[in-house]
Amino acid sequence: MPKGMFVDTSICTGCKACQVACKEWNALPHEPGHFRFDPVEKRPVAVNFTGDSYDNTGALGATDWRRVRFIEQFSEDRSRGRWLFSSDSCKHCNDAGCLNACPTGAIVRTGLGNVFIRQDVCIGCKYCIPSCPYGVISLSEATGTVHKCTLCNDRIHNGLGTACAKACPTGSISFGEVADLRSAADKRLAQLKGLGYGEANIYGYKEAGGLNVFYLFLDRPQAYGQAESVVVPQKRLPVSSSVAIAGALALGGAALVSFRERGSREENEEVKK
């Protein structure tokens, strides 16, 4: 039975405990410091801020397996406003672009449905990086291989939940069987709709064959930086390769005509002589 996570963004407070727990459990290096002592100004100056609210990673990557997004929505005169939070990670797609693209078999799906990169097999060809429709994976210069969230592979195969879900103080991130999580999500969605959150929606039932890590959003997925129509890249493979073959055949035809005709013309010329 596939395990996964349900991220109910409606009760996220943006505390980043998940981000910290992820870094600690997975022994990921810390973010670069936000202040640097400037020898000329003789005082600390701010560096490495994303300029995007309280987001301090800007993207998911080899050392950032969790990213808390901060979405500030204010009216023109700032009289009305709301602040949306969403903890984002690898979605462990059922039709995973990265896994499909991997030429070495380094990216595998375990018995619990999570997509896992085997570090001793990965060669660092980087093809999985643009093949992930969510921009999750990236290369680590330190190891020469790619990294991403493992769904705490070591923990979940030993009866524990993910570190981020464990650390979440509001229950925004819950870990469990995907089927159970889905029914909980449906209930929560119905409750929110009843409370007047008309735009609330669940993201991840249909996308990329179904996401094992899925979300409840209070606004359109795009507001949270999630692609609204996700195409798993390999869906393009049949047409792309067919057109390439057609191109090859067209050239083959062109060559046949060119060389054959020349041959016969040569004969004709010889006959004339």
Partner: protein, 304 residues
């Protein structure tokens, strides 16, 4: 299309150069094969030159590919599954199938290269020379050509089968475009080597020139169509250095100019520039255009 999709960070001097050199090799081999199969005695020199070009060039490409890996020493994982050592192929991954195609093409190019040496009498004393000349060269030339087309084309399919906006939006044309460019750069390389070896016969070989023209027309049509179908995602190809490389290099230098020169130019410069000099210049332009085509598409897809 999700602009948050990460860029792979493929270096143009490794990956685009691999696309380019493998394309020349495959194109030259294909033309060599066709000249061998369907050409008359006058085409023999073309096929010989094509086979002489193909193998050394394809030999250059694995180092380029391996150099771009994060863990170069593990390159063999592309062919053998690291955990068991059993040959491995992932049919959904053009990169995986392409690695095998590259191996097969390399092997066939090697056979044709040897065959050239044997039939030119350069390996007469080798113990295998006699037995070798009995292997029907046409067979491996056909297998090698198909594998060569695969090598030339999969490099484009690789780009289409990703989630990067430009590469995904240009689906499904990049594979076909790279194949057309492989043919025209292959023909240019053959021209160049033949003129260098002073084997370019006057007034040239019209069948060969005609094929060369057709491949350039196809390349031109595909390059323009690709930008049109990409719509607003083609923006990185329309500004900055990438636009100069794509339009100025790949389209104008690589296809339009040589085509125009072929149709009008020879008359205009008749008597002033020797035809073999003109052919050499055009061949160089086509090669430069082919390289810039690969570089611009690779780089434009990696604009953040």
């Amino acid at each position: 299309m999700n602009p948050e999709v990460h860029i792979p960070g493929w270096e143009w001097y490794y990956v685009a150069m691999y696309f380019f050199i493998a394309g020349i090799s495959a194109g030259a081999y294909f033309i060599g094969t066709l000249a061998e199969l369907f050409g008359g005695e006058r085409h023999r020199e073309i096929s010989r030159t094509g086979f002489y070009i193909a193998f050394p060039l394809i030999l250059l490409t694995p180092p380029l590919l391996i150099a771009d890996l994060g863990r170069p020493e593990r390159f063999w994982h592309l062919l053998f599954y690291a955990k068991s050592g059993i040959p491995y192929m992932n049919f959904q991954s053009p990169l995986s199938v392409g690695s095998w195609a590259l191996l097969l093409f390399g092997a066939m190019a090697f056979l044709s290269f040897l065959d050239n040496l044997v039939s030119e009498g350069k390996l007469q004393s080798a113990p295998f020379a006699k037995a070798y000349s009995r292997i029907p060269r046409k067979w491996y030339a056909v297998v090698g050509s198909i594998a060569g087309f695969f090598v030339a084309g999969y490099t484009g399919v690789i780009l289409n089968v990703t989630a990067r906006p430009l590469w995904a939006a240009t689906n499904p044309l990049v594979g076909a475009l790279f194949i057309a460019s492989a043919a025209s750069t292959g023909a240019a390389a053959i021209n160049l080597v033949m003129s260098w070896r002073k084997k370019l016969t006057d007034p040239g070989l019209p069948g060969f020139d005609r094929f060369d023209r057709l491949s350039k027309v196809l390349e031109l049509v595909l390059a323009v169509a690709l930008v049109l179908i990409a719509g607003r995602w083609a923006a990185p190809l329309l500004r900055g250095l990438n636009a100069v490389m794509f339009w100025g290099g790949a389209v104008v230098l690589g296809t339009l100019f040589p085509l125009a020169a072929g149709w009008y130019g020879t008359r205009a410069v008749e008597g002033r520039i020797p035809p073999e000099r003109l052919a050499t210049v055009m061949a160089v332009l086509v090669l430069v255009g082919g390289a810039l085509l690969r570089i611009s598409l690779l780089q434009a897809g990696q604009v953040q």
